[in-house]
């Protein structure tokens, strides 16, 4: 089937989409940089308007549909699947060949290396059937065979090209994926088949820009930042630039990746500063081995004003929405950051 994107200026753009493929996926796969953020139905950024043709709207209760004017034909590209040739309009100027970075595509793989990191956090890898390239900070959408809908997870690892992707998941009460991952013994999940789409996301590390980085992570939001630290370590980025990471979790037992973080900060003592922010009160003796990194009782955003920054600092934020919002406010009001100095992908 063919999807035609009408434009106010310029000829319409046509692209082919596969059966069962979301409109957003086929647009991106065909290198059309259409607007999107979460790619999983919550944010509403990928709204478009159906002019003619027939769509299956997908997830009817998607939170991102709330702001749509459905009576005017508005729909979410990340949810809708074309049932016939369709003509659509997009509220942004689009041109062909405009996707930056690596072109997203469909992948399939197998779940491996499940590991429980804390009571609430599980890490797993997906062994892909072919290799992929992505930028540190990007995410994939994953679909498990027995769960309706896709989940977005950021890659924890980084390599220029790889057939292994590492992810981290936090338990979400009532979430179907959490039930799958946390509700049964880990062995049962090994070798689960999974389909993926990506790489996705605009909050990417661009080493060529030579920014100093301020990384603000809450919980599993650390995922993409681990990839950034890994890439920075691989390419010697910390020899000429500095990185400060603030990693927020609830209490000392909720900390994960501690040994990885310690290894990195010990290797880059001068230019990598890592602070773990515990939102709950610490008890004495809770933390034994925290060589070369700081542990303090605070919310992530409370540590922003003390972080050394300049016009050349790029801030990345990932975590629960209240943490992201509080951090954005602090960066803009306290640090005077411009919109160009802040990168995050809106998942809510």
């Amino acid at each position: 089937m063919t999807i035609t994107v009408g434009r106010k200026t310029g000829e319409p753009i046509n692209f082919e989409n596969n059966p069962q493929e979301k409109v957003l996926q086929s647009a991106l796969r065909n290198q059309l940089a259409v607007p999107y953020e979460c790619a999983t139905g919550t944010c509403g950024s990928c709204r478009a308007k159906l002019i003619s043709g027939e769509l299956d709207q997908g997830w009817v209760d998607a939170p991102g549909r709330k702001a749509l004017k459905t009576e005017r034909g508005e729909f979410l590209m990340c949810q809708a699947v074309a049932q016939s040739d369709c003509e659509i309009r997009i509220p942004s100027s689009v041109s062909e060949g405009s996707v930056k970075g690596f072109i997203p595509d469909h992948y399939s793989g197998t779940v491996t290396q499940l590991k429980q990191l804390t009571d609430e956090v599980i890490a797993f890898s997906v062994a892909l059937e072919e290799t992929i390239s992505f930028q540190a900070g990007q995410f994939m959408t994953l679909e498990f065979p027995d769960i309706v809908g896709a989940r977005a997870y950021s890659m924890v690892n980084y390599a220029q090209q790889t057939d292994q992707l590492e992810f981290v998941v936090k338990r979400f009460e009532g979430g179907a994926c959490s039930r799958l991952l946390f509700g049964q013994s880990l062995e049962l999940l090994e070798n689960q088949k999974v389909t993926l789409f990506g790489p996705l996301g605009h909050a990417v590390f661009e080493p060529d820009l030579e920014h100093d980085l301020l990384l603000l992570a809450g919980g599993s939001g650390i995922a993409g930042m681990m990839a950034m630290l890994e890439q920075a370590d691989q390419i010697g980025y910390l020899e000429s630039n500095s990185i400060e990471l603030v990693f927020g979790v609830r209490s000392a037992v909720d900390i994960f990746y501690l040994s990885d973080l310690q290894r990195l900060t010990t290797k880059h003592l001068n230019n990598l500063k890592i602070t773990i922010a515990l939102s709950e009160r610490m008890t004495d003796g809770e933390l034994q081995q925290t060589t070369n990194l700081q542990v303090t009782q605070a919310f992530v955003h409370e540590l922003i004003s003390a972080a050394p920054t300049s016009d050349h600092t790029m801030a990345f934020i990932a975590g629960p929405p209240p943490m992201v919002d509080a951090s954005i406010r602090e960066l803009i009001t306290d640090k005077g950051f411009t919109a160009e100095q802040i990168r995050y992908d809106k998942f809510a």
Partner: protein, 120 residues
């Protein structure tokens, strides 16, 4: 109806916005030092109410939803994600009052009609 007194100059704090309603028209009045501006109360991106989502600092207004950012007085989009400027009402100040030309309510075209002049 054209020029209307919407508030006293002192009613709006420096580097801040204030939502006002004058004869059924909602208008955001912004102040930076002794300069004032007035615009419709929503973000031109996704209709977010700027009184809640907007953040004022150093003469710039930022919608925290997607970081669209504008100069608070000219309404011009700052570099970054913003794709559209703010629609601006004419404003003058006189005898300590902020006076806005409300001849016609300014609205972003979020495709509420079937014309071809919308954001699609």
């Amino acid at each position: 109806m054209s020029w209307k007194t919407v508030c006293a100059m002192a009613d709006v704090e420096d580097n801040a916005i204030k939502l006002l309603n004058v004869d059924g028209i909602s208008v955001l009045v912004a102040r930076v030092g002794e300069q004032y501006a007035a615009y419709p109360p929503v973000c031109p991106h996704m209709e977010e109410p700027l009184e809640e989502s907007g953040l004022c600092a150093k003469g710039k207004l930022t919608c925290t939803k997607h970081l669209w950012q504008w100069d608070m007085i000219t309404g011009e989009a700052e570099p970054g994600p913003a794709e559209k400027p703010l629609l601006m009402y004419e404003v003058r100040t006189e005898d300590g009052q902020v006076i806005v030309n409300l001849e016609k309510e300014l609205e972003y075209d979020f495709d509420d009609d079937d014309d071809d002049d919308d954001d699609y």
